[in-house]
Structure formats: structure tokens, C-alpha cells
């Protein structure tokens, strides 16, 4: 012990206390590591996380109603919806004033399509009323109650005003309720009528089908991964090309290929009829149902299962199996008690990958799924590109994302994301 311990502190070569020097070095390393990550992190946060966040926030936004009809919303707030009577003239007058501004700005039809999600008929009511209300003068033509009801009988319906009152807030839970087959009514939350309940079922189906697809990927992928890990590297790489080739072929092409394969006059049925396993008049129905979706998606996602499994299995020394056998284990015991537990991280990695990817697929189910093989993503796509009900799409997407994130978290807990290896 020399001068470095002069005042009880361990000193570094330059005389600063070692603790401080180390922590400074540590901090420098931390900063350096962070600087390496920073460009990408900023890039992803800015161009991905932020836009997605904005998109998903639409699931609660409802500002179009209070912004288009500010006065109406205020006056309507005082109306007692449970009275069963129409609101009084003040509401109608406020509504006419709001509408005349909205019609000028051509916003009333947009409001109509927004409210049509909640109550069928609003869309045409606003469009038709807009045309006629253009001629009303918001001051001179008072009173309005009778006139509005004459313009469209919907304005004389208590339900119309109840709906408007229910959906007058800046934010709404309506989209999320819709996303789970419920709805906001003036009386509170209620389930959708039974013949409109579809989304929960689709969530359930998406999860179950994704599980089945993941399961069949495990079943088919495990032997292949095992084979790849246990033949000579040269052969393994050749076989790997067979795995990667479909992986690299366009998703659209592979899906079409399965159509060619599976349909009633498709390759599989033709071959089965030709060798006589199936009578001509009684061809198998392999497509446009759950089976078609499962087969095509399993094929499309199988490489995502095989590759992580393979990389894990590569690290399991084959001598373990031999050791177990030499100590008297049967083939099965040696596999099940020695090899299989070590390959579980690979199964976990592959399963999470396949499951997450299959939950979000919609092009393949759309093409081969028929009526029973459709996923929740198909509905999201429908609401985004056809019905323009983005609030509902965002709510569905948020729920889906939460499910996926929960799985991701569980996976990170169980296996650790570092363990995923793709090839």
C-alpha cells in the first residue's frame, strides 16, 4: 500500500479517487453506448412511434362534434334526455346557427358520417337537411323547431337528440366499446344487438387461429430445425436454401400459389383424383375456410419458426444426448429430458415471432380465408380504407397492439429478446 491510500481513498494513476474515475469512465461509456443508439432511436421515435401514437389516439377523439356544433352542445347539455320530450326552441335555434356556419364551411356532412357510426341514418339526415337549411336565415326565420322537423322528421325524434347529447364530449369511449361489440347509449353502456356482434368473435378467432398456426409451425418446424442442426454444415446449408427459398418469394405469389394448389380443381385435388384416393364427384374442400388459411399461413410463417429454432439447436452439443444414452436413458428419455429442455428458447423465439406476425396478417386470410378464415386485421383494413371509420380502426388496432405488447413482454421475461436469431 503506497501513497494511493493517503487519505483512505484508492486513487487512480492521475491522482483522482478511483471511485470517481471509474464512475466517470462508466458514464462516458454509457454516453458512448447511448450515442451509438441515439440516431436510430430518434429516427424510429420520430418516423414511427410518434405517427402511430397519433393514429391510435383517434380511438378516443371526438372533437368533431363539439367543434362543429359548439353552441348546440352547450345548450343541449341542459336538456333532460330522460324526460322523453323534445328539446325546446333554444336548442333548435342554436343548432340552426351552428349548422349555418357548418354548411358554409361544408363540415356538416362530415359530422353526419361521424354520427352515422353511432346511429344509422344520420348521414343522409345531415346531407339532406344541409341542402334545405342553406336557405334558412339563422336570425330572421325563427322559430326553427317546426321548420327543422318539416325539413327532416329525424329532428323530431327524441333519439336523435339523445345520440347527439351522448356524443357531445371532446373524447369518447364509444370507439373502444364498439371494438368489443358494445356501444354507448344515452342510458349507458350496452351490448350490440346479437346479429351485429362480430368483433369479439374475430379477436377470439384471430387468437385461436394464430395459436393453431403457431402450433403447426412448431410441429413442422421442429424436425426440420433438428435435422438442420444435426447434419453436416454443408448439407445443412443446402437444406437451408430450401427453407429460405419460399421465404424470399413474394407473399402475394405464395398466396396465389396456395390458391392454385388447394382449390377444388387445384393441384392437390387433381392429383388425389388421378391416383384415385378421392372420387371425382367428391373433391376435398381445402380452401376458403379455416383450413386454407392455416395451411397457407403456416407455409408463409414456417421459416420464421425454423430459423430461430435452428440457431438455438446449433448451440446444443450432440454429446449431451450420447452421454444421456450411455448412462442408460432410452432414446425418448434422452430427447425429452436432455435435448428438448435446451431447445425451448428456440421454440419460444419462433413461437412469439410467428404468433405476432400471424396476428397482424390480412392479405393472406383475405385471399384464401373465405368466410371463416378472416382475421381482425381484415376488419381494421376495412374500416381504414372502405368505411373511413378510423376511430374504430384505431381502437381495434390499439387492442391488438396491447395484446401483442403483452405477449412481447411475456416473451422477453421468459426467453429474452436477445435470444432471437434469424439465420
Amino acid at each position: 500500500m503506497s501513497d494511493s491510500t493517503a487519505n483512505g481513498l484508492v486513487l487512480a494513476a492521475d491522482g483522482t479517487p478511483l471511485k470517481r474515475s471509474l464512475s466517470r469512465a462508466m458514464r462516458r461509456q454509457k454516453i458512448r453506448a447511448f450515442m451509438l443508439v441515439a440516431p436510430l432511436l430518434i429516427f424510429v421515435l420520430l418516423t414511427f412511434i410518434y405517427p402511430i401514437g397519433v393514429m391510435l389516439s383517434r380511438s378516443v377523439q371526438n372533437d368533431i362534434v363539439p367543434e362543429t356544433l359548439p353552441e348546440t352542445v352547450r345548450v343541449l347539455g341542459a336538456w333532460d334526455a330522460s324526460s322523453g320530450e323534445l328539446p325546446d326552441e333554444a336548442v333548435y335555434a342554436a343548432f340552426t346557427r351552428d349548422m349555418s356556419v357548418a354548411i358554409e364551411a361544408k363540415k356538416h356532412t362530415r359530422l353526419g358520417s361521424r354520427l352515422n357510426y353511432e346511429k344509422t341514418g344520420f348521414s343522409s339526415m345531415f346531407r339532406q337537411s344541409g341542402r334545405k337549411m342553406k336557405k334558412l336565415d339563422p336570425v330572421a326565420d325563427a322559430p326553427f323547431k317546426e321548420k327543422l322537423i318539416k325539413i327532416h322528421k329525424g329532428w323530431g325524434d327524441v333519439e336523435t337528440w339523445k345520440t347527439l347529447q351522448t356524443y357531445s364530449g371532446l373524447y369518447t369511449s364509444g370507439y373502444f366499446l364498439n371494438a368489443v361489440d358494445a356501444r354507448m347509449t344515452p342510458e349507458g353502456m350496452a351490448w350490440q344487438p346479437e346479429d351485429k356482434q362480430i368483433l369479439l368473435k374475430l379477436f377470439g378467432r384471430t387468437l385461436v387461429m394464430s395459436l393453431i398456426i403457431t402450433g403447426s409451425c412448431i410441429l413442422l418446424g421442429y424436425p426440420i430445425a433438428w435435422l438442420l442442426a444435426n447434419v453436416s454444415p454443408r448439407n445443412a446449408n443446402l437444406l437451408l436454401i430450401l427453407v429460405l427459398l419460399p421465404f424470399w418469394t413474394s407473399l402475394l405469389v405464395r398466396t396465389s400459389a396456395w390458391k392454385v394448389m388447394l382449390q377444388q380443381n387445384g393441384v392437390i385435388n387433381e392429383v388425389l383424383v388421378w391416383i384415385g384416393l378421392v372420387p371425382d364427384g367428391d373433391r376435398l374442400i381445402l380452401i376458403n375456410n379455416e383450413f386454407g388459411t392455416i395451411v397457407a399461413m403456416t407455409h408463409i410463417l414456417l421459416p420464421f419458426m425454423i430459423l430461430p429454432m435452428y440457431s438455438v439447436m446449433q448451440t446444443i452439443p450432440p454429446v449431451y444426448l450420447r452421454a444421456a444414452k450411455s448412462m442408460g436413458a432410452t432414446n425418448w428419455t434422452a430427447f425429452w429430458r436432455v435435448y428438448f429442455p435446451q431447445s425451448i428458447p428456440g421454440i419460444g423465439a419462433g413461437s412469439i415471432l410467428v404468433f405476432i406476425l400471424s396476428i397482424g396478417y390480412y392479405i393472406t386470410p383475405e385471399i384464401v380465408g373465405g368466410t371463416k378464415g378472416v382475421f381482425i386485421s381484415n376488419r381494421i383494413a376495412y374500416h381504414i380504407s372502405s368505411s373511413l371509420n378510423w376511430g374504430l380502426a384505431a381502437a381495434l388496432g390499439t387492442i391488438l397492439l396491447i395484446v401483442v405488447l403483452a405477449l412481447y413482454w411475456a416473451y422477453d421475461r421468459i426467453v429474452g429478446i436477445d435470444n432471437v436469431k434469424l439465420g
Binding site: 424510429v44 412511434i49 400459389a257
Partner: protein
Amino acid sequence: MAAPTPISRKPLSFVLPTAGGIGAFLGLFLGTGNGSGLIGMLLGAAVIAAMAYGFIVDLQNEKLAKWISVIGFGIVGYMFGGIILTIVAGLVGMFYHWLIYWLYEGRYRAKLLPYLTAGQVLWHYGFRCIAALIFIFLITPILVIIPLSFNAQDFFTYTPGMLRLDPDAYSLKHYQDFFTNNEWQRSLKNSLTIAPIATVISVSLGTLAAVGLSQSHMPFKGTIMAILISPMIVPLIISATGMFFFYSQLGQFMENSLGMDKNLVGYIKVILAHAVLGIPFVIITVTATLVGFDQSLTRAAANMGANPMTTFFRIQMPLILPGVISGGLFAFITSFDEVVVVLFIGSAGQKTLPWQMFTGLREQISPTILAVATILVIVSIGLLTVVELLRRRSERLRGMSPA
């Protein structure tokens, strides 16, 4: 590898029932088609067992036996059907000939460890049969579309003419369409512009980040990892709409404030969007390679006076290169095969190959899509070969012998 196991001839009492059993399998197929599976099975077993007996006991000439069985099966095939059936039957004949001698000479043992029990040998080959079936499952859909790309008709249908191998039923017109049609050529060019640049961006940023992430002092590692992986886990349709807004505004900014060309801005938008989608793959592969990376190497380099840049490019980079390359290939394919996002973010000038294919499937059926796929399959085989060569090179660099 263990030394080759000495092989010996097997008794007829083993060869005949085994060959017969596998023959019964063929008989089952043919029999079911012609009324009775049971009779078929019995007949199949009898025929193959008789063949085995004839070859082994009477003929005792393997070469001659081969011709006899190929031609014999071929003739039977020809009597029942056309040229295709003849060829198939010939192949079946070849298979059974090979099977009989494989069993009789004990060749099936040659490459296995000598101490394996009969059950283990059976399992060994049974397992390979299962694996072969799975490989068939993987590869058949790709093979099936290749002949269809030569279809003379404009549908994804095997016409009767194609099945008869009638030359008139085949044509190269879809290939011609692909190579002469401006739309296809432009979209191919767009894909070949967008994918490599997007790949370069995701690989360079992704590799840097992965190096940072793999350092033990990285703060908030889990959260950052989750953020960087998120483009893979958000359903694509949501990503597409969400990113659309951002890129519209970005595009407007670049056009109006920076005065950039509209077309160029369009490319930048698609490239950045695809780069984000490719990043998770790069991060995952490169961090996985870095898990096995020996950090003392960088310390040694630093010790010997190398600056961090030199250390990275001379020490780390060559060793993690396989991970970088395979991450890059995944990123490339992500961009090259991506349709949902480009449909939203791209405009006419950036129509990519998958977009053109998507329009093709939706608006007009045309096997040109299959011709493109066939070309791409061939290109991928080429690319995979390159990867394989690179991998072998990197293994040599690492000093790892093929274990």
C-alpha cells in the same frame, strides 16, 4: 464422422417383407382408386416382393435389374395413361429397384453408427421421411407456379393442353410482357432503387445501435429494444396509415421549404418508411451475433493503440459481418416484398414490384406475376449462393472449422 460401418447382405426373410410392405403402400393408392384398397395392398406387396425375389435369387445382376424394373413399370404406366404416367411409373420402378438393393446389400447402415439398434435405424430413416415431407410442403407451392408462368392463357389454371405437354399450350408471352411492359420495368427499377437504399439505412443505423445495445452499460436497454423492434409488431395496416400523415407533412416540408423535386421526395418517403420496417431484423440478427462476441478483443485492440473507429472496422465488423449481412438480407426482402405501406405512402412515381403485382392480382389476372416470381426465385437462388459463399468465408476468417 465415424468410420463407415461395415455392411453386409441381409437375409431374404428381412428384405422380402420390408420391400413388400413398402410395395403395399403403392398398392394402397392404386387400389383405392380402382375400387378396393385391400386388394391393391395385397397385390402391391406381392408384386414388389416377387420382384425382390427375382432380382436377388434369379437375376443377380444389379444393372440389368435396374433396366428391367424401369422399363417394366414404364410399360405398365403407358398402358394406363399418357406420357406423364409413363415417366412417373418409370421413376417409381427406379425407386423400387433402388430400395430392394438398398435393403438387400445393407447399404442403409453404411453411414450410421455401428452400434445403433434396428429400432434406431428405422427411426433414423422414418424421421428423414417426415422431414422430406415437410420440405415438400415448403417447396411445392413454389414449384407449382413455375410451369404456370409459361401458360398460353391468361389465367392461373393448368389447362388440359398443358397437362398433355402440348407445346401450343405453353408460351413465353408473360415473360415478354414483363420485359417489354413499361409498368413492370418501371416498378422493377423502383424496387431495385428503393430496397437497396432502405437496406443500407437500416443496416448502418441498426448495426450502430446494436453495437451500443450490446454494451453492458447501456441504460434503459429493454425499453429501447422494445421501441426499436416495434415496427415488426405493429400491424402493418396501422403502421401504414399512421406513417402516412407523418410522411405527407414531411413531403410537404421538403417540397415547399427545401424546394426539392417532387419525385425525389416521393422516393425519400418510401425509402425511409421501408428502412424503419427493416430495422428490427437488423437489430435482432446483429445483437444475436454480438452475444457471442468476445469483448476482450476490442480491449486488446484499444490496448495496442487502435482508435474506436479502427477497432470497429478492423476487429468488430469482420466478425459480426455474417449477422450484418443476414440482417441486411432480411431488411432487403422486407422492402422488396412490402405492399401495404407502399400502397399508402408511395405515389405513382414510386410504384414498386409488389404494388404492381397487387394491382395485377386485383385488377387483371395475368400470369406475368408468376413470370416475375419465377425470375425472382432464380435470382434468390443466386443470392442465397452468394450468402453461403460469404458465410464460408467468414467462418474461415473466424478460424472456425466446419465442425
